[in-house]
Point group: C2
Chain length 336, copies 2
C-alpha cells in the first residue's frame, strides 16, 4: 500500500467501487475478489483486447486533460471490440499513477473513463492501482461478445471488394499537431479537430451494423493511420488495394488544412492514426445493402478504393491519378 499526494491505492479502489455500477445479469463476481467472473451468453463467443496509453509516448500532461484521457483510454480498447462487430460487456483498468497527479486529477480521469464505458453499457469489473516513481500509464482491457457468425476479422477481404472508411479519418492527427503547438487559444475549427484527437468515439454501433448485416468482409479500427491499418488488412487477407485521394472523406476543417498545406497534410491524414474510425471492405454482393444504410443515415461511410488480386501492396493515387510513395504515408512493407 503506497501513498502519493495524500492518496492511497485503496482509497482509489474504494472510490471506484462506490462510483462504478456493477449491475449486470451475467456478472457473477465483480470488483473486490481475486478475479471477476462472468457467464458468456448462449450463442456468443468472448472477445478480448487490451491497450496501454503511456505518458510522453501517447500523451503529455501539459496538454492532456484528465477527463479526456479517461475517455480515450477506454475508447482505444472499446474500438477493438467495435472492429470485430462485437458488443463491449466488461472492462479492466490498470492505473499506474505518479506524484505528478493529485486526487482531483485522478477523479476527473475516472469520470471520463466511466462516461466512455456508460455510452456502451460496459461494466468495470476489475483492475489494479500502482503508484509508480515514473510514467503515468493506463491499461484498459475490454471484454466483449459477438455471435460467431457475425464476427469480422482482418482476413476476409477478397479481390474486387470495395474499401470503405467511416467518418473523416485524419482529423485526429491534425488535431494532435495543433495540440503540440501548445497555443493559448484555438479557433472553433481548430478546437473541433483537437476534440477528435482528445475524445475519439469508438464506432460500436456501426461495427455491429456492418457485422450483423454481413456487409463487411474484413474490418479494422484506424489506430495507426489508414495506410498502416489497411496494410494490416491486406497482409492478413492476402490482397492488394488502390485508394484515391479524390475519394477520401475530409472534414471541412481538415479540407481547409489540406488546401493550405497540401501533401504535408495528406501524410498526416493517411499516416497519423488515432481516429478510431472503422476501415472495412465490402464484397460486390453487399454494396446495395451498404448504400441503403448510408442513404438512410444509419452509417457515415465513404468508399475510398478497392482491392484486387495479387501480393499485398497498396497504391495511393493522387488527384492526377499518379502514384504516391506509400512509404511516406505509413506503409511499412513488413507487417504481419
Amino acid at each position: 500500500m503506497v501513498e502519493i499526494n495524500g492518496i492511497e491505492e485503496r482509497e482509489i479502489v474504494q472510490w471506484i467501487k462506490k462510483h462504478f455500477n456493477q449491475d449486470d445479469d451475467d456478472l457473477s463476481i465483480g470488483i473486490g475478489d481475486d478475479c471477476a467472473s462472468f457467464n458468456t451468453r448462449k450463442g456468443h463467443q468472448t472477445l478480448v483486447s487490451t491497450d496501454t496509453l503511456v505518458e510522453n509516448t501517447h500523451f503529455e500532461l501539459n496538454w492532456a486533460k484528465p477527463g479526456n484521457l479517461g475517455e480515450k483510454s477506454a475508447a482505444v480498447s472499446l474500438s477493438d471490440i467495435a472492429a470485430m462487430g462485437g458488443q463491449p460487456r466488461y472492462a479492466l483498468l490498470n492505473l499506474n499513477l505518479t506524484s505528478s497527479v493529485d486526487k482531483r486529477w485522478i477523479k476527473a480521469y475516472l469520470k471520463g473513463f466511466k462516461n466512455a464505458l456508460a455510452t456502451c453499457k460496459c461494466v468495470l469489473i476489475g483492475g489494479n492501482v500502482t503508484i509508480a516513481p515514473a510514467g503515468l500509464g493506463f491499461t484498459v482491457t475490454a471484454i466483449g461478445e459477438v455471435k460467431p457468425e457475425h464476427c469480422v476479422t482482418r482476413a476476409g477481404a477478397k479481390p474486387g471488394d470495395a474499401v470503405y472508411v467511416t467518418g473523416t479519418p485524419g482529423d485526429s492527427a491534425l488535431g494532435l499537431d495543433l495540440l503540440r503547438e501548445k497555443r493559448r487559444s484555438y479557433s472553433t475549427a481548430e478546437r473541433k479537430l483537437i476534440s477528435r484527437h482528445d475524445s475519439p468515439k469508438p464506432r460500436i454501433g456501426w461495427g455491429q451494423l456492418l457485422a450483423s448485416k454481413k456487409i463487411a468482409s474484413a474490418m479494422i479500427d484506424i489506430s495507426d493511420g489508414v495506410a498502416m491499418d489497411l496494410e494490416r488488412v491486406l497482409t492478413t487477407s492476402k490482397v492488394r488495394a488502390t485508394i484515391e485521394l479524390d475519394r477520401f472523406p475530409l472534414s471541412k476543417e481538415s479540407a481547409a488544412i489540406v488546401a493550405k498545406k497540401g501533401e504535408t497534410a495528406w501524410r498526416r491524414i493517411l499516416g497519423g492514426g488515432e481516429d478510431y474510425e472503422l476501415l472495412f471492405t465490402v464484397p460486390p454482393s453487399k454494396q446495395a445493402s451498404l448504400d441503403r444504410l448510408i442513404q438512410s443515415g444509419r452509417i457515415t461511410a465513404t468508399r475510398i478504393g478497392a482491392t484486387s488480386k495479387g501480393a499485398p501492396s497498396l497504391r495511393i493515387l493522387d488527384h492526377q491519378e499518379a502514384d504516391l510513395d506509400i512509404d511516406n504515408y505509413g506503409w511499412t512493407h513488413n507487417l504481419e
Copy 2:
C-alpha cells in the same frame, strides 16, 4: 511504431507470434487481429484478473533477472485464478519497454513468461507493446474458467472455520530483504529464499483441489502478506479470526532468520507478501477430507488458526499466547 536499442515494437510482436503456441480448441482468434476470441466451455464461467509489475515499485533492474521477471509477472495473475479454484486458459501481455533494456533482455523476459504459462497450459492470445520514455512495466491479464459450483470467493468463511495456508509464506519477503542487500554472494539457504521471491509458483493445482472437493469455504492468494490478505477474507466474510505464531509453518531457512531476528522477522513473514501461496478457510465438516489430502501428500497446508463470530478483526497470538499488535503486521483496519 517506435524503436529503441535497435528493437521495434513489431519485431517483438513477430517474435512472440513465432515462439508462443496458439493451439487451443476453444480459441477461434488468437494473436494478430483487433481482438482475440474464444468460446467458454459448457458448464463453466470465465474468470479474469489483471496485475502490473512496475520498475522501482515491484522490482529493480539491478537485481531482477529478466527470466525471473517474465515468470513472476505471469505468476501474479495466474495466482488469482488459482485462488478462485480455476484453470488458467488465456493471457494478455502489455509490455512497457524503455531504453534500459535490449533485445536480449526482452527475449529472456519472454522466455520466462512463456515457461510460466506453459506449466499450466495457458495460451498467450494478445497484448500490447509500447516503448516508453520511463518506467518498465509488465501488465498481465489472466483469463481462466471454473465451474460455478466450484468457484471459491473471499466471502464464504463462517465462524468456526479453520484458517490454513499452503507452503511456507514469509520466505518471499525474507528473500527480498536479502536481495536488497545487493551482496556479491549468497549462501545456499539465502539463495533458496531469494528464489521464493524471484520465482513464485502459483498454486493452481492445489487451488483446484480445494475448490473441486469443496474443502475451502473462502480462499485468497497471499500477495500482500498473511495479515492483510486474511483481513480481506475476514472483511468480506464478516467474521473474526485468531492465528498463532506457534502453528505457523516456517521453512528451515526462515526459521533460522526468526531464531536470529525474532519479532523483526515475524513482521516480514506475516506482513511482507508476494508469496503467492493460498490462504483458505475450512468448515469443520471438511476437516477430515483435508487431513487426508495432507497426509497423502497431495497438498502442503498448515492450520494457523480459526475464525469466530464477530466484527471482522484479527488476533495474532505469540508464543506466550499474548496478543501482538496487528498494526505492525500489515493489518489496515479499513480494507473493503
